[in-house]
Protein backbone atom coordinates (compact mmCIF):
# COMPACT_ATOMS: atom_id res chain seq x y z
CA UNK A 1 0.00 0.00 0.00
CA UNK A 2 1.53 3.37 -0.94
CA UNK A 3 2.28 5.74 1.89
CA UNK A 4 -0.51 8.22 1.37
CA UNK A 5 -2.31 9.90 4.18
CA UNK A 6 -5.96 9.04 4.14
CA UNK A 7 -8.65 11.67 4.43
CA UNK A 8 -11.33 12.03 7.05
CA UNK A 9 -14.75 10.70 6.15
CA UNK A 10 -16.76 13.55 4.75
CA UNK A 11 -20.28 13.58 3.33
CA UNK A 12 -20.74 15.50 0.12
CA UNK A 13 -23.86 16.68 -1.67
CA UNK A 14 -23.20 17.17 -5.36
CA UNK A 15 -25.04 14.39 -7.16
CA UNK A 16 -28.44 14.73 -5.49
CA UNK A 17 -28.21 18.48 -4.78
CA UNK A 18 -31.42 20.06 -5.94
CA UNK A 19 -30.11 23.59 -6.35
CA UNK A 20 -28.57 22.73 -9.73
CA UNK A 21 -30.37 24.53 -12.54
CA UNK A 22 -29.45 22.12 -15.30
CA UNK A 23 -30.93 24.39 -17.97
CA UNK A 24 -28.68 27.27 -17.02
CA UNK A 25 -25.67 24.96 -16.80
CA UNK A 26 -26.40 23.60 -20.26
CA UNK A 27 -26.90 27.08 -21.64
CA UNK A 28 -23.63 28.40 -20.31
CA UNK A 29 -21.70 25.25 -21.27
CA UNK A 30 -23.00 25.21 -24.84
CA UNK A 31 -21.72 28.77 -25.17
CA UNK A 32 -18.18 27.66 -24.43
CA UNK A 33 -15.89 26.11 -27.01
CA UNK A 34 -15.69 22.31 -27.20
CA UNK A 35 -11.99 22.34 -26.32
CA UNK A 36 -12.62 24.46 -23.26
CA UNK A 37 -15.26 22.05 -21.96
CA UNK A 38 -13.05 18.99 -22.51
CA UNK A 39 -10.19 20.78 -20.75
CA UNK A 40 -12.46 21.53 -17.80
CA UNK A 41 -13.36 17.84 -17.43
CA UNK A 42 -9.71 16.81 -17.86
CA UNK A 43 -8.57 19.37 -15.26
CA UNK A 44 -11.11 18.11 -12.76
CA UNK A 45 -9.38 14.71 -12.68
CA UNK A 46 -12.75 12.93 -12.92
CA UNK A 47 -12.35 9.19 -13.45
CA UNK A 48 -15.15 6.85 -14.51
CA UNK A 49 -17.48 5.97 -11.67
CA UNK A 50 -18.54 2.57 -12.95
CA UNK A 51 -15.48 0.95 -11.40
CA UNK A 52 -12.70 0.86 -13.98
CA UNK A 53 -11.75 4.50 -13.44
CA UNK A 54 -10.68 5.61 -16.90
CA UNK A 55 -10.37 9.43 -17.04
CA UNK A 56 -13.69 10.75 -18.36
CA UNK A 57 -12.09 13.77 -20.03
CA UNK A 58 -9.75 11.55 -22.04
CA UNK A 59 -12.63 9.44 -23.31
CA UNK A 60 -14.36 12.60 -24.48
CA UNK A 61 -11.17 14.02 -25.98
CA UNK A 62 -10.28 10.88 -27.94
CA UNK A 63 -13.80 10.54 -29.30
CA UNK A 64 -13.95 14.24 -30.21
CA UNK A 65 -10.72 13.80 -32.21
CA UNK A 66 -12.13 10.97 -34.33
CA UNK A 67 -13.35 11.79 -37.83
CA UNK A 68 -16.72 10.18 -38.41
CA UNK A 69 -20.10 10.93 -39.95
CA UNK A 70 -21.79 9.53 -36.86
CA UNK A 71 -20.86 9.39 -33.18
CA UNK A 72 -22.78 8.27 -30.12
CA UNK A 73 -23.10 8.90 -26.40
CA UNK A 74 -24.13 5.92 -24.32
CA UNK A 75 -25.16 6.06 -20.69
CA UNK A 76 -24.36 2.76 -19.03
CA UNK A 77 -27.25 2.17 -16.63
CA UNK A 78 -26.80 -1.61 -16.60
CA UNK A 79 -25.70 -1.59 -12.98
CA UNK A 80 -25.44 -5.25 -12.11
CA UNK A 81 -22.49 -5.47 -9.76
CA UNK A 82 -23.75 -7.21 -6.61
CA UNK A 83 -24.18 -4.59 -3.92
CA UNK A 84 -24.68 -1.64 -6.26
CA UNK A 85 -27.92 0.31 -6.43
CA UNK A 86 -26.86 3.94 -6.78
CA UNK A 87 -27.55 4.42 -10.51
CA UNK A 88 -31.22 3.65 -10.06
CA UNK A 89 -31.52 6.31 -7.37
CA UNK A 90 -29.63 8.82 -9.51
CA UNK A 91 -31.88 8.18 -12.51
CA UNK A 92 -34.94 8.36 -10.32
CA UNK A 93 -34.04 11.51 -8.40
CA UNK A 94 -31.97 13.61 -10.79
CA UNK A 95 -32.59 12.28 -14.32
CA UNK A 96 -32.10 15.71 -15.89
CA UNK A 97 -28.56 15.85 -14.59
CA UNK A 98 -27.81 12.52 -16.27
CA UNK A 99 -29.34 13.65 -19.57
CA UNK A 100 -27.60 17.03 -19.18
CA UNK A 101 -24.24 15.27 -18.92
CA UNK A 102 -25.09 13.27 -22.04
CA UNK A 103 -26.06 16.40 -23.96
CA UNK A 104 -22.83 18.18 -23.00
CA UNK A 105 -20.87 15.12 -24.09
CA UNK A 106 -22.81 15.03 -27.36
CA UNK A 107 -21.96 18.68 -27.96
CA UNK A 108 -18.27 18.12 -27.18
CA UNK A 109 -17.74 15.03 -29.34
CA UNK A 110 -20.19 15.95 -32.09
CA UNK A 111 -22.87 13.30 -31.48
CA UNK A 112 -26.54 13.78 -32.21
CA UNK A 113 -27.78 10.61 -30.60
CA UNK A 114 -27.56 9.34 -27.05
CA UNK A 115 -28.72 6.07 -25.56
CA UNK A 116 -29.56 5.07 -22.02
CA UNK A 117 -29.11 1.31 -21.60
CA UNK A 118 -31.13 0.40 -18.52
CA UNK A 119 -30.88 -3.03 -16.95
CA UNK A 120 -33.96 -5.24 -17.38
CA UNK A 121 -34.31 -5.53 -13.60
CA UNK A 122 -35.30 -1.85 -13.57
CA UNK A 123 -38.01 -2.13 -16.21
CA UNK A 124 -40.52 -0.70 -13.75
CA UNK A 125 -38.74 2.66 -14.19
CA UNK A 126 -39.11 2.65 -17.95
CA UNK A 127 -42.22 4.78 -18.33
CA UNK A 128 -41.05 7.29 -15.78
CA UNK A 129 -37.64 7.72 -17.41
CA UNK A 130 -39.19 7.93 -20.88
CA UNK A 131 -41.42 10.77 -19.67
CA UNK A 132 -38.38 12.60 -18.30
CA UNK A 133 -36.53 12.10 -21.59
CA UNK A 134 -39.48 13.56 -23.55
CA UNK A 135 -39.49 16.53 -21.21
CA UNK A 136 -35.74 16.96 -21.56
CA UNK A 137 -36.02 16.98 -25.34
CA UNK A 138 -38.17 20.11 -25.05
CA UNK A 139 -35.36 21.80 -23.10
CA UNK A 140 -32.92 20.85 -25.84
CA UNK A 141 -35.23 22.33 -28.45
CA UNK A 142 -35.36 25.57 -26.47
CA UNK A 143 -31.57 25.62 -26.36
CA UNK A 144 -31.29 24.76 -30.03
CA UNK A 145 -29.14 21.66 -29.48
CA UNK A 146 -29.65 18.89 -32.02
CA UNK A 147 -29.48 15.89 -29.69
CA UNK A 148 -31.91 13.07 -28.94
CA UNK A 149 -31.90 10.39 -26.25
CA UNK A 150 -33.34 6.91 -26.64
CA UNK A 151 -34.03 4.44 -23.85
CA UNK A 152 -33.09 0.77 -24.31
CA UNK A 153 -33.62 -2.11 -21.93
CA UNK A 154 -31.38 -5.02 -21.07
CA UNK A 155 -32.68 -8.49 -20.29
CA UNK A 156 -30.88 -9.74 -17.21
CA UNK A 157 -27.27 -10.22 -18.31
CA UNK A 158 -24.57 -8.87 -15.97
CA UNK A 159 -21.96 -9.04 -18.71
CA UNK A 160 -23.81 -6.37 -20.70
CA UNK A 161 -22.42 -3.81 -18.24
CA UNK A 162 -19.07 -4.42 -19.97
CA UNK A 163 -18.94 -1.66 -22.55
CA UNK A 164 -18.35 -3.69 -25.72
CA UNK A 165 -20.88 -6.36 -24.65
CA UNK A 166 -23.34 -3.53 -24.11
CA UNK A 167 -22.85 -2.34 -27.70
CA UNK A 168 -23.36 -5.87 -28.97
CA UNK A 169 -26.59 -6.05 -26.98
CA UNK A 170 -27.73 -2.67 -28.36
CA UNK A 171 -27.12 -4.08 -31.82
CA UNK A 172 -29.46 -7.00 -31.12
CA UNK A 173 -26.75 -9.59 -30.60
CA UNK A 174 -25.62 -11.84 -27.78
CA UNK A 175 -23.93 -9.73 -25.12
CA UNK A 176 -20.44 -11.07 -25.74
CA UNK A 177 -17.50 -8.71 -25.18
CA UNK A 178 -15.41 -7.77 -28.19
CA UNK A 179 -11.66 -7.86 -28.47
CA UNK A 180 -9.94 -4.63 -27.43
CA UNK A 181 -8.40 -2.63 -28.99
CA UNK A 182 -10.05 -1.01 -30.86
CA UNK A 183 -11.65 0.86 -27.99
CA UNK A 184 -15.13 2.43 -28.04
CA UNK A 185 -13.66 5.90 -28.63
CA UNK A 186 -12.82 4.59 -32.13
CA UNK A 187 -15.11 1.65 -32.61
CA UNK A 188 -18.18 1.57 -30.37
CA UNK A 189 -21.90 1.33 -31.09
CA UNK A 190 -22.45 0.38 -34.76
CA UNK A 191 -18.67 0.50 -35.13
CA UNK A 192 -18.69 4.29 -34.72
CA UNK A 193 -16.75 6.43 -32.21
CA UNK A 194 -18.70 6.28 -28.97
CA UNK A 195 -18.40 7.68 -25.48
CA UNK A 196 -19.80 5.27 -22.94
CA UNK A 197 -20.04 6.62 -19.41
CA UNK A 198 -21.55 5.39 -16.18
CA UNK A 199 -24.68 7.24 -14.97
CA UNK A 200 -22.78 8.85 -12.10
CA UNK A 201 -19.84 9.99 -14.28
CA UNK A 202 -22.29 11.86 -16.51
CA UNK A 203 -23.79 13.71 -13.54
CA UNK A 204 -20.35 14.67 -12.25
CA UNK A 205 -19.43 15.94 -15.72
CA UNK A 206 -22.41 18.26 -15.63
CA UNK A 207 -21.58 19.36 -12.08
CA UNK A 208 -18.01 20.14 -13.14
CA UNK A 209 -19.40 22.29 -15.97
CA UNK A 210 -21.50 24.05 -13.34
CA UNK A 211 -19.04 24.49 -10.48
CA UNK A 212 -15.71 24.37 -12.33
CA UNK A 213 -12.88 21.85 -12.20
CA UNK A 214 -11.28 23.59 -9.22
CA UNK A 215 -14.20 22.89 -6.89
CA UNK A 216 -14.15 19.18 -7.78
CA UNK A 217 -10.37 18.98 -7.52
CA UNK A 218 -10.45 20.28 -3.98
CA UNK A 219 -12.10 17.03 -2.98
CA UNK A 220 -10.36 13.66 -2.81
CA UNK A 221 -6.72 12.75 -3.33
CA UNK A 222 -4.21 13.06 -6.17
CA UNK A 223 -5.32 9.80 -7.80
CA UNK A 224 -8.97 9.96 -6.81
CA UNK A 225 -10.37 13.42 -7.25
CA UNK A 226 -13.82 14.35 -6.10
CA UNK A 227 -16.53 12.41 -4.37
CA UNK A 228 -18.39 9.21 -5.13
CA UNK A 229 -21.77 7.69 -4.48
CA UNK A 230 -21.53 4.55 -2.34
CA UNK A 231 -24.12 1.78 -2.11
CA UNK A 232 -23.76 0.43 1.42
CA UNK A 233 -25.28 -2.88 2.48
CA UNK A 234 -24.76 -5.99 4.58
CA UNK A 235 -24.18 -5.81 8.34
CA UNK A 236 -24.75 -2.12 8.87
CA UNK A 237 -27.46 -0.35 10.81
CA UNK A 238 -27.62 2.42 8.20
CA UNK A 239 -27.56 0.76 4.79
CA UNK A 240 -28.32 2.95 1.82
CA UNK A 241 -26.81 5.46 -0.58
CA UNK A 242 -24.23 7.99 0.56
CA UNK A 243 -22.06 10.44 -1.34
CA UNK A 244 -18.63 10.61 0.27
CA UNK A 245 -15.32 12.28 -0.49
CA UNK A 246 -12.83 9.81 -1.97
CA UNK A 247 -9.64 8.89 -0.15
CA UNK A 248 -10.93 7.98 3.31
CA UNK A 249 -9.47 4.96 5.07
CA UNK A 250 -11.60 1.87 5.39
CA UNK A 251 -11.25 2.20 9.17
CA UNK A 252 -13.00 5.58 9.03
CA UNK A 253 -15.66 4.09 6.82
CA UNK A 254 -16.29 1.15 9.10
CA UNK A 255 -16.47 3.39 12.15
CA UNK A 256 -19.28 5.32 10.49
CA UNK A 257 -21.17 2.49 8.84
CA UNK A 258 -20.20 -0.70 10.68
CA UNK A 259 -22.22 -2.40 13.39
CA UNK A 260 -19.30 -2.50 15.84
CA UNK A 261 -18.33 -6.03 14.89
CA UNK A 262 -17.23 -5.69 11.26
CA UNK A 263 -14.98 -8.55 10.25
CA UNK A 264 -14.49 -7.71 6.59
CA UNK A 265 -15.66 -5.34 3.89
CA UNK A 266 -16.10 -6.35 0.27
CA UNK A 267 -15.10 -3.23 -1.65
CA UNK A 268 -16.32 -3.09 -5.26
CA UNK A 269 -18.79 -5.96 -5.31
CA UNK A 270 -18.13 -9.54 -6.43
CA UNK A 271 -15.54 -8.20 -8.89
CA UNK A 272 -13.83 -6.24 -6.10
CA UNK A 273 -11.61 -6.97 -3.12
CA UNK A 274 -12.30 -8.29 0.33
CA UNK A 275 -10.48 -6.37 3.06
CA UNK A 276 -10.18 -8.00 6.52
CA UNK A 277 -10.34 -6.07 9.79
CA UNK A 278 -6.57 -6.02 10.32
CA UNK A 279 -6.10 -4.06 7.10
CA UNK A 280 -8.86 -1.45 7.64
CA UNK A 281 -6.36 1.17 8.85
CA UNK A 282 -4.01 0.86 5.87
CA UNK A 283 -6.63 0.67 3.17
CA UNK A 284 -7.63 3.78 1.31
CA UNK A 285 -10.87 3.78 -0.65
CA UNK A 286 -9.87 5.17 -4.01
CA UNK A 287 -7.68 4.40 -6.98
CA UNK A 288 -4.45 4.46 -4.94
CA UNK A 289 -5.90 1.87 -2.58
CA UNK A 290 -8.94 -0.23 -3.27
CA UNK A 291 -11.25 1.27 -5.89
CA UNK A 292 -14.98 0.67 -6.04
CA UNK A 293 -17.82 1.29 -8.43
CA UNK A 294 -19.80 2.05 -5.29
CA UNK A 295 -20.55 -1.35 -3.84
CA UNK A 296 -19.59 -1.72 -0.17
CA UNK A 297 -20.77 -4.87 1.61
CA UNK A 298 -20.05 -5.19 5.30
CA UNK A 299 -19.75 -8.54 7.06
CA UNK A 300 -19.69 -9.03 10.83
CA UNK A 301 -18.09 -11.88 12.71
CA UNK A 302 -21.24 -14.03 12.57
CA UNK A 303 -20.81 -14.46 8.80
CA UNK A 304 -19.07 -17.32 7.07
CA UNK A 305 -16.64 -15.98 4.48
CA UNK A 306 -16.86 -19.36 2.74
CA UNK A 307 -20.54 -18.67 2.06
CA UNK A 308 -19.65 -15.21 0.81
CA UNK A 309 -17.01 -16.56 -1.58
CA UNK A 310 -19.25 -19.38 -2.77
CA UNK A 311 -22.03 -16.90 -3.49
CA UNK A 312 -19.66 -14.77 -5.60
CA UNK A 313 -18.21 -17.71 -7.52
CA UNK A 314 -21.71 -19.03 -8.26
CA UNK A 315 -22.57 -15.56 -9.50
CA UNK A 316 -19.60 -15.48 -11.88
CA UNK A 317 -20.25 -19.00 -13.10
CA UNK A 318 -23.80 -18.03 -14.03
CA UNK A 319 -22.93 -14.68 -15.55
CA UNK A 320 -19.86 -15.71 -17.56
CA UNK A 321 -20.89 -15.27 -21.20
CA UNK A 322 -19.13 -18.53 -22.01
CA UNK A 323 -17.26 -17.12 -24.96
CA UNK A 324 -13.71 -17.65 -23.68
CA UNK A 325 -12.51 -20.84 -22.03
CA UNK A 326 -10.52 -19.39 -19.09
CA UNK A 327 -13.63 -17.68 -17.73
CA UNK A 328 -16.24 -20.30 -18.64
CA UNK A 329 -14.34 -23.33 -17.40
CA UNK A 330 -12.37 -21.42 -14.77
CA UNK A 331 -15.47 -20.30 -12.88
CA UNK A 332 -16.90 -23.84 -12.92
CA UNK A 333 -13.65 -25.31 -11.62
CA UNK A 334 -13.25 -22.69 -8.89
CA UNK A 335 -16.70 -23.50 -7.57
CA UNK A 336 -16.13 -27.26 -7.69
CA UNK A 337 -12.72 -26.72 -6.11
CA UNK A 338 -13.78 -24.77 -3.02
CA UNK A 339 -16.66 -27.20 -2.46
CA UNK A 340 -14.26 -30.15 -2.66
CA UNK A 341 -11.83 -28.59 -0.18
CA UNK A 342 -14.68 -27.82 2.20
CA UNK A 343 -15.93 -31.43 2.01
CA UNK A 344 -12.40 -32.73 2.51
CA UNK A 345 -12.31 -34.40 -0.91
CA UNK A 346 -9.29 -32.29 -1.82
CA UNK A 347 -6.32 -31.42 0.44
CA UNK A 348 -6.03 -27.85 1.72
CA UNK A 349 -3.05 -27.31 -0.61
CA UNK A 350 -5.57 -27.50 -3.45
CA UNK A 351 -6.49 -23.92 -2.58
CA UNK A 352 -3.05 -22.92 -3.95
CA UNK A 353 -3.89 -24.65 -7.23
CA UNK A 354 -7.15 -22.70 -7.38
CA UNK A 355 -5.31 -19.45 -6.69
CA UNK A 356 -2.99 -20.24 -9.60
CA UNK A 357 -6.04 -20.81 -11.78
CA UNK A 358 -7.36 -17.33 -10.93
CA UNK A 359 -3.96 -15.90 -11.91
CA UNK A 360 -4.27 -17.63 -15.28
CA UNK A 361 -7.79 -16.26 -15.67
CA UNK A 362 -6.50 -12.79 -14.87
CA UNK A 363 -4.09 -12.81 -17.79
CA UNK A 364 -6.01 -14.90 -20.30
CA UNK A 365 -9.70 -14.04 -19.93
CA UNK A 366 -11.01 -11.83 -22.68
CA UNK A 367 -12.80 -9.21 -20.59
CA UNK A 368 -13.03 -7.64 -17.16
CA UNK A 369 -15.43 -10.29 -15.85
CA UNK A 370 -13.06 -13.24 -16.12
CA UNK A 371 -10.07 -11.10 -15.20
CA UNK A 372 -11.58 -9.83 -11.99
CA UNK A 373 -12.72 -13.15 -10.52
CA UNK A 374 -9.20 -13.34 -9.04
CA UNK A 375 -9.83 -10.18 -6.97
CA UNK A 376 -12.48 -11.51 -4.63
CA UNK A 377 -11.26 -15.09 -4.83
CA UNK A 378 -7.68 -14.46 -3.77
CA UNK A 379 -8.49 -11.76 -1.22
CA UNK A 380 -11.04 -13.98 0.53
CA UNK A 381 -9.01 -17.20 0.33
CA UNK A 382 -5.78 -15.49 1.47
CA UNK A 383 -7.36 -13.67 4.38
CA UNK A 384 -9.83 -16.30 5.57
CA UNK A 385 -8.11 -19.54 4.74
CA UNK A 386 -9.31 -21.39 7.87
CA UNK A 387 -12.91 -20.58 6.98
CA UNK A 388 -12.41 -22.14 3.54
CA UNK A 389 -11.23 -25.40 5.11
CA UNK A 390 -13.16 -25.95 8.34
Amino acid sequence: MPDIKSKKLKRVDLIFAEDCNYKEVLKKTLNRSRDEVVQEILDSGLRGRGGAGFPTGLKWKFTAQEESDEKFVVCNADEGEPGTFKDREILLKVPFKVFGGMAVCGYVIGAKEGYVYLRGEYEFLKEDIQKQIDHFHKTLDDLGLDFRIKLLLGSGAYICGEESALFESMEGKRGEPRNKPPYPTQNGFRGKPTVINNVESLVYSLMICDLGAQKFQELGTADSRGSKVFSISGDTPISGIYELELGMSLAEFVEEFGDGDTKAVQVGGAAGFCVPRKKFNDTIIGFEGVPTGGSMMLFNSSRSMYNVLKNYVEFFREESCGQCTPCRVGCQQLLKGIEAVKRGDQPTTYLQTLLKLTEVMKVTAKCGLGQSVANSFSSIVDNFKEEMIY
Binding site: S155, G156, Y158, G172, I241
Partner: protein, 153 residues
Protein backbone atom coordinates in the same frame (compact mmCIF):
# COMPACT_ATOMS: atom_id res chain seq x y z
CA UNK B 1 -48.41 -15.10 -32.40
CA UNK B 2 -47.93 -14.06 -36.01
CA UNK B 3 -49.93 -10.93 -35.41
CA UNK B 4 -48.09 -10.05 -32.20
CA UNK B 5 -44.73 -10.34 -33.94
CA UNK B 6 -45.89 -8.28 -36.87
CA UNK B 7 -47.16 -5.57 -34.51
CA UNK B 8 -43.88 -5.56 -32.61
CA UNK B 9 -41.89 -5.33 -35.83
CA UNK B 10 -44.07 -2.44 -36.99
CA UNK B 11 -43.36 -0.72 -33.72
CA UNK B 12 -39.61 -1.40 -33.38
CA UNK B 13 -38.50 -1.86 -36.97
CA UNK B 14 -37.14 -4.81 -38.88
CA UNK B 15 -33.39 -4.48 -38.41
CA UNK B 16 -31.06 -6.53 -36.27
CA UNK B 17 -31.20 -3.74 -33.67
CA UNK B 18 -34.95 -4.28 -33.34
CA UNK B 19 -34.44 -7.90 -32.34
CA UNK B 20 -34.00 -7.47 -28.59
CA UNK B 21 -36.99 -5.10 -28.14
CA UNK B 22 -39.12 -7.49 -30.21
CA UNK B 23 -38.09 -10.53 -28.17
CA UNK B 24 -38.73 -8.53 -24.98
CA UNK B 25 -42.18 -7.68 -26.32
CA UNK B 26 -42.94 -11.34 -26.96
CA UNK B 27 -41.86 -12.33 -23.44
CA UNK B 28 -44.01 -9.60 -21.96
CA UNK B 29 -47.05 -11.08 -23.66
CA UNK B 30 -46.30 -14.81 -23.67
CA UNK B 31 -43.86 -15.01 -20.73
CA UNK B 32 -41.44 -16.84 -23.00
CA UNK B 33 -40.02 -17.06 -26.53
CA UNK B 34 -40.84 -20.43 -28.06
CA UNK B 35 -38.89 -21.84 -30.99
CA UNK B 36 -41.97 -21.29 -33.08
CA UNK B 37 -41.88 -17.60 -32.14
CA UNK B 38 -38.16 -17.42 -32.98
CA UNK B 39 -38.79 -18.79 -36.48
CA UNK B 40 -41.62 -16.34 -36.98
CA UNK B 41 -39.40 -13.42 -35.88
CA UNK B 42 -36.71 -14.63 -38.29
CA UNK B 43 -39.25 -14.66 -41.12
CA UNK B 44 -40.64 -11.26 -40.23
CA UNK B 45 -37.18 -9.66 -39.95
CA UNK B 46 -35.78 -11.61 -42.89
CA UNK B 47 -32.82 -13.00 -41.00
CA UNK B 48 -31.51 -16.44 -40.15
CA UNK B 49 -33.38 -18.27 -37.39
CA UNK B 50 -29.98 -19.16 -35.93
CA UNK B 51 -29.28 -15.48 -35.25
CA UNK B 52 -32.62 -15.07 -33.49
CA UNK B 53 -32.00 -18.24 -31.48
CA UNK B 54 -28.52 -17.03 -30.52
CA UNK B 55 -29.80 -13.76 -29.11
CA UNK B 56 -32.93 -15.22 -27.52
CA UNK B 57 -31.02 -17.89 -25.58
CA UNK B 58 -28.34 -15.53 -24.26
CA UNK B 59 -30.44 -13.39 -21.92
CA UNK B 60 -31.73 -14.82 -18.66
CA UNK B 61 -34.91 -12.71 -18.74
CA UNK B 62 -35.82 -14.06 -22.17
CA UNK B 63 -37.19 -17.39 -21.05
CA UNK B 64 -37.38 -20.05 -23.69
CA UNK B 65 -39.23 -22.58 -21.52
CA UNK B 66 -42.91 -22.17 -20.77
CA UNK B 67 -43.49 -20.01 -17.68
CA UNK B 68 -46.48 -19.07 -15.61
CA UNK B 69 -48.34 -15.81 -15.94
CA UNK B 70 -46.36 -14.40 -13.02
CA UNK B 71 -42.64 -15.09 -12.97
CA UNK B 72 -41.15 -14.69 -9.52
CA UNK B 73 -37.42 -13.99 -9.43
CA UNK B 74 -35.96 -14.03 -5.94
CA UNK B 75 -32.59 -12.33 -5.46
CA UNK B 76 -29.89 -14.83 -4.52
CA UNK B 77 -27.03 -12.40 -3.79
CA UNK B 78 -25.24 -12.67 -0.45
CA UNK B 79 -26.73 -9.47 1.01
CA UNK B 80 -30.31 -10.68 0.47
CA UNK B 81 -29.21 -14.09 1.72
CA UNK B 82 -27.95 -12.52 4.95
CA UNK B 83 -31.32 -10.83 5.48
CA UNK B 84 -33.32 -14.02 5.34
CA UNK B 85 -33.73 -14.96 1.71
CA UNK B 86 -33.89 -18.66 2.57
CA UNK B 87 -36.96 -18.16 4.73
CA UNK B 88 -38.59 -16.26 1.90
CA UNK B 89 -37.77 -19.02 -0.56
CA UNK B 90 -39.20 -21.64 1.81
CA UNK B 91 -42.36 -19.57 2.24
CA UNK B 92 -42.79 -19.24 -1.52
CA UNK B 93 -42.23 -22.97 -2.07
CA UNK B 94 -44.80 -23.76 0.59
CA UNK B 95 -47.39 -21.30 -0.67
CA UNK B 96 -47.05 -22.30 -4.30
CA UNK B 97 -46.30 -25.98 -3.68
CA UNK B 98 -43.50 -25.96 -6.22
CA UNK B 99 -39.71 -26.06 -6.18
CA UNK B 100 -37.24 -23.63 -7.68
CA UNK B 101 -37.44 -23.63 -11.46
CA UNK B 102 -40.99 -25.00 -11.51
CA UNK B 103 -44.36 -23.63 -12.54
CA UNK B 104 -47.64 -24.16 -10.69
CA UNK B 105 -50.11 -26.58 -12.29
CA UNK B 106 -52.55 -23.77 -13.06
CA UNK B 107 -49.75 -21.93 -14.91
CA UNK B 108 -50.12 -18.97 -12.62
CA UNK B 109 -46.66 -18.76 -11.03
CA UNK B 110 -43.09 -19.74 -11.88
CA UNK B 111 -40.46 -19.61 -9.14
CA UNK B 112 -36.89 -18.69 -10.08
CA UNK B 113 -33.78 -17.21 -8.51
CA UNK B 114 -31.83 -14.36 -10.07
CA UNK B 115 -28.65 -12.42 -9.47
CA UNK B 116 -28.44 -9.05 -7.73
CA UNK B 117 -31.61 -7.01 -8.25
CA UNK B 118 -30.07 -3.86 -6.80
CA UNK B 119 -32.08 -3.76 -3.56
CA UNK B 120 -29.26 -4.80 -1.23
CA UNK B 121 -30.16 -2.13 1.33
CA UNK B 122 -33.76 -3.36 1.37
CA UNK B 123 -33.35 -7.12 1.11
CA UNK B 124 -34.65 -9.70 0.72
CA UNK B 125 -36.02 -8.63 -2.62
CA UNK B 126 -37.85 -10.24 -5.54
CA UNK B 127 -39.40 -9.35 -8.85
CA UNK B 128 -42.82 -10.55 -9.94
CA UNK B 129 -42.70 -9.94 -13.67
CA UNK B 130 -41.29 -6.39 -13.71
CA UNK B 131 -42.62 -5.31 -10.30
CA UNK B 132 -40.06 -5.12 -7.46
CA UNK B 133 -40.90 -6.18 -3.89
CA UNK B 134 -38.43 -5.41 -1.09
CA UNK B 135 -37.86 -5.91 2.65
CA UNK B 136 -39.76 -9.16 2.42
CA UNK B 137 -40.95 -11.15 5.41
CA UNK B 138 -42.87 -14.43 5.26
CA UNK B 139 -46.09 -12.55 6.16
CA UNK B 140 -45.52 -9.93 3.52
CA UNK B 141 -44.87 -12.62 0.90
CA UNK B 142 -48.15 -14.38 1.81
CA UNK B 143 -50.05 -11.14 1.35
CA UNK B 144 -48.41 -10.44 -2.00
CA UNK B 145 -49.11 -13.94 -3.31
CA UNK B 146 -52.71 -13.72 -2.05
CA UNK B 147 -53.19 -10.55 -4.06
CA UNK B 148 -51.90 -12.22 -7.23
CA UNK B 149 -54.13 -15.26 -6.57
CA UNK B 150 -57.16 -12.99 -6.86
CA UNK B 151 -56.27 -12.06 -10.44
CA UNK B 152 -57.64 -14.13 -13.26
CA UNK B 153 -55.22 -16.39 -15.03
Amino acid sequence: MKELIKDLADQHGRTRESLLPILQGIVKKERRVSEEAMSEVARELDMSAALVYGTATFYSFLDTQPRGKYVIRLCRTITCDMKGKKEILDTLKQLLKINLGETTKDNRFSLLETNCLGWCHKGPAMLINEEAYTELTPDKVSEIIDEYMKNEI
